[in-house]
Amino acid sequence: MPHISYDNKEIAFKLVYCGPGLSGKTTNLARLHTMLAEHVRSKMISLDTAEERTLFFDFCPIEIGTIEGYRVRFNMYTVPGQIYYEASRRLILDGADGVVFVADSQRDRIDDNIISFELMQENLRSYHIDVPDFPLVLQYNKRDCAEALPIGTLEAHLHLANIDVFEAVATEGVGVMETVRCVCRRMVNRFQID
């Protein structure tokens, strides 16, 4: 449920980028940030290690405009992908209105993708987020790598029948906008007050 504040005159959705370590979650958000017009974005905050691995989260609020006096915002987060940071990941998924799962298309990452997806599903369930009708989008990132996983591989393994799927090369900004637009539209389509 998006956050609605009468006092602050604001409606805010929470979008979280999930996926295995190094799949390109931070790159997606960073590219999105640079591609957006100045007036909609604020500074991106990254809580990361010296090696630029996400330690807690990246955060970037995007204000799309004002509707009937209410500022409408998407608060974008990435989680740390490394298995080790499971506790932090769970905290950040709390209250998510939508999720982008950034998969790594390199063949040897297939198991990491599957494990990461299953852990994410468990976390969402622990917050009573029912996965089938939840705004969840699957992005196959790193399509520029040699012998990328064929589209459909993860859907088959994870029994995802009707999921929205996008191909991306986040480092070049390819597929970044398409992915975020789709998940934001789905979050808005589910919007209701109460």
Partner: protein, 168 residues
């Protein structure tokens, strides 16, 4: 104009909602001599703010403090506590007092004179109870739905999304 604002401040039949959250926070800033007060959810969204916010990115502040608080709560559980209800950060010239007002909301008070910590703590506790009562009533959404039609909101929002996340 005067009449309208005045009337909003009158507590009718003990109805706490006659005083908004913003006004409660404003009162807290005054009585404690603080710089700024913010009310945020545990998911990191802002609910209300008062005092000087010109020096502060309140959106980022809300996200970071919520992260901090949730991490601290996990740490509390590890040592057998439900949670730590207050977090205090002491700086060189500015200090932050963070307290839990309900299970899902926290209040942030930023102040400058550390001598005032007793006052801040006392006022934050007092105001936290009032704010908690207002939040418990959860009338925000009813008020918003009076001002906002859902179908129109969706139509406008989808339009904005298509414009802003357009492929270049």
């Amino acid at each position: 104009m005067m009449v309208a604002t005045r009337r909003r401040n009158i507590v009718v039949n003990g109805d706490l909602n006659a005083v908004s959250l913003k006004e409660h926070l404003g009162a807290l800033v005054k009585t404690s001599g603080a710089l700024t007060a913010l009310l945020i959810t545990k998911e990191g969204h802002g609910i209300a703010e008062a005092g000087d916010t010109s020096y502060l990115n309140t959106t980022a502040m809300a996200a970071l403090v919520a992260g901090m608080f949730s991490a601290t709560r996990e740490v509390a559980r590890m040592v057998g506590e439900q949670q730590f209800s207050i977090l205090l950060q002491q700086g060189e010239t500015r200090h932050i007092h963070i307290s839990l007002v309900t299970n899902s909301a926290m209040m942030i008070v930023i102040f400058e004179d550390y001598q005032r910590i007793g006052r801040v703590r006392h006022e934050a506790k007092k105001m936290g109870e009032l704010v908690g009562q207002v939040l418990a009533k959860g009338t925000d959404k009813a008020k918003v739905s009076e001002e906002l039609s859902v179908p129109e909101f969706k139509e406008y929002a989808l339009n904005l999304i298509d414009r802003i996340f357009a492929m270049k």
